[in-house]
Amino acid sequence: MAKVSRYEQLDRAVQALLSGQERIPQHAQFAALLRVAAGLRDLPGDTFRARLKRHLQRSIEMATPTTATPRPAPAATPYLCVRGAAAAIEFYKNAFGATEIGRLTQPDGKIVHAEIEIGGAMIMLADELPEYGFLSPQTIGGVPLKIHLHFDDVDALVRQAVAAGARLTRPVKDEFYGHREGQLTDPFGYTWLVSTVKEELSFAEIERRFAELTQPPAPPKQQPAKPRARKEQSVIPYLVVGEPLAYADFLKQVFSAEETLRTTGSAGGWHIEMNFGGTKVMMGGPREGSAGITLYTATLHLYVPDADAVYHRALAAGATSYFPPVDRPYGERQAGIQDAAGNTWYIATHHGPSYIPEDMAAVNLTMHYKDADLLMEFLKNAFGAEVPFVHRSPEGTYARARIGETLLQIGETRGAVTPDSPMVLLTVEDADAAYQRALAAGAESIEKPADQPYGARRAGVKDPFGTTWYVSSPLPRRKRPRK
């Protein structure tokens, strides 16, 4: 069963190469790739390349006679007032690769004038000088002006700037006017539009495209990317709600989910199956009246082509906002809502070749518990989960656990969020064994393993953290005597 992927195989070979076992097998399938890899060890670092260039430029500045210092002077030079000019100069060096041209520092340490150059464009800056009415964005409370910079590789620039402390306030994307562009806000309050020119366009062409974009009625917008083919889904969230039919309509209307099955469940209520871009979510509930039934809610991380639109649709359909759309540093735009049935949805669009990140599904169950480590331990012991990713931070732990082919997200709740008590269907190879392991790991039995009329063997447990798990495995096909 443990088939090693080619990514893994190649990585093992790379690891051997990096740790000095140099020999590249002649006939191995990866020989050509490893020859490339061997060459990569000797590549120059980007930082070095940029640093040397700056050093050379500085030498040139110094060597150029002062009478002949035609400054890089575009027609208009922005002059920034910042609180902390020295720190700002450092920041612009790290974030934008700025070169310092010079600074004038008073005995009290205040910088009254400085000049830097970013990709050939001059920027002037100084500390606050209230006596001249020269005030920083922090003092005034904002800047109604943005500065536009061009770079060769805006994606790399944004990565560098964010690492230096800038905030990405609009994600990088291709714009109709031929730029690939994003927006950064720096720690000093200034906003920078950063872009790379992808197409050189005349203004007439830009105008034409603009007209096309704004013409009523707007042409139906194409979806930016398609959902990917799904892997086997081993974890299925099961929502139990008071009004299942109305809720199914909500899911269809807001999330464009597709109903694939509507039938009567084992307890006599509705059993409905929904498909979200390739991921299955099941739900159930009473046919009428919800008195006395236990509801099961969950937190689900949903990927859609346009998170903003879905968020607003959800609010219009009666959901409550948890948080409005925001750009996350890990490359997705995300909003949060709580629906009328009590489920929490993170609605996200990933910025990449697909709106769903490579290793995620369209819908991903997110488990919120007070202690992520205990939960991870339980998932490993009970269901053989792997934990390929753990990120610990002062705000809490975020982890991803994989059971079979499906990823679960684990988030530690800190106070404000009430832990969920979801119901989850888990497909395993051997329901009896999983049931026994779950009990040994501390779960409580709620249903002993038994054959089900729909061709599966099923058992139920409740884990110490409140999640109800139904584990099921397909029944072996009966061998019928043949004549």
Binding site: A32, V36, L40, D42, F48, H55
Partner: protein, 178 residues
């Protein structure tokens, strides 16, 4: 791509830099990878390679006004400076160690140098995430786990990016070398 040569474009670049030193940046961009590849192949150590490369360009900058366009391609001129700088480096480190150390690596051939320079340029054209994985893995020698933490991706995703990057580079390299 520009061959190390003697074409009109290069002549224009050199002459522009001779008139106005600030244009030296263009020459630096055009030749950095070649010089670094040459130096690295001879000193076999990153810190030393950075040191020597830096020295080469500062020397070239100082000597640029004396460079004459008389049949010696600019790249060859630079590599001659580099060759001398590498020899100085070996002599200096031999002196520091107190014994004459023969240079352990033979002079590399032009094809190898161009191949490495080409590879460096190709890496810069990779998509940002693949490029980051290549730098972290091969230059900074980080583990898959560290890279995954840094980039907030799974280890599997990083291995996949590594695979894609190597495939893309291999495809491009074979495209340029027949």
């Amino acid at each position: 791509m520009t061959a190390p040569g003697h074409d009109a474009d290069e002549r224009r670049l050199v002459e522009a830099a001779q008139r106005d030193l600030r244009r030296f940046a263009d020459l630096y961009e055009a030749h950095f990878d070649r010089v670094y590849a040459y130096v690295m192949s001879r000193v076999r150590n990153r810190a030393a390679a950075e040191d020597v490369t830096s020295h080469v360009f500062h020397q070239a900058l100082a000597a640029l006004p004396r460079y004459e366009w008389r049949g010696v391609p600019f790249a060859a001129w630079l590599l001659r400076i580099a060759s001398n700088a590498v020899n100085d480096h070996w002599q200096r480190s031999a002196r520091e160690r107190g014994n004459p150390a023969p240079e352990p690596v033979a002079n590399p051939d032009t094809e190898t140098i161009e191949h490495h320079a080409q590879l460096a340029r190709m890496v810069r054209t990779l998509p940002a995430d693949q490029r980051r994985v290549v730098e972290a893995r091969f230059l900074e020698q980080k583990s898959i786990r560290e890279i995954a933490q840094e980039m907030r991706r799974t280890e599997g995703a990083i291995k996949q990016l590594q695979f894609r990057a190597l495939e893309a580079l291999r495809a491009q390299m074979s495209g340029t070398h027949g």
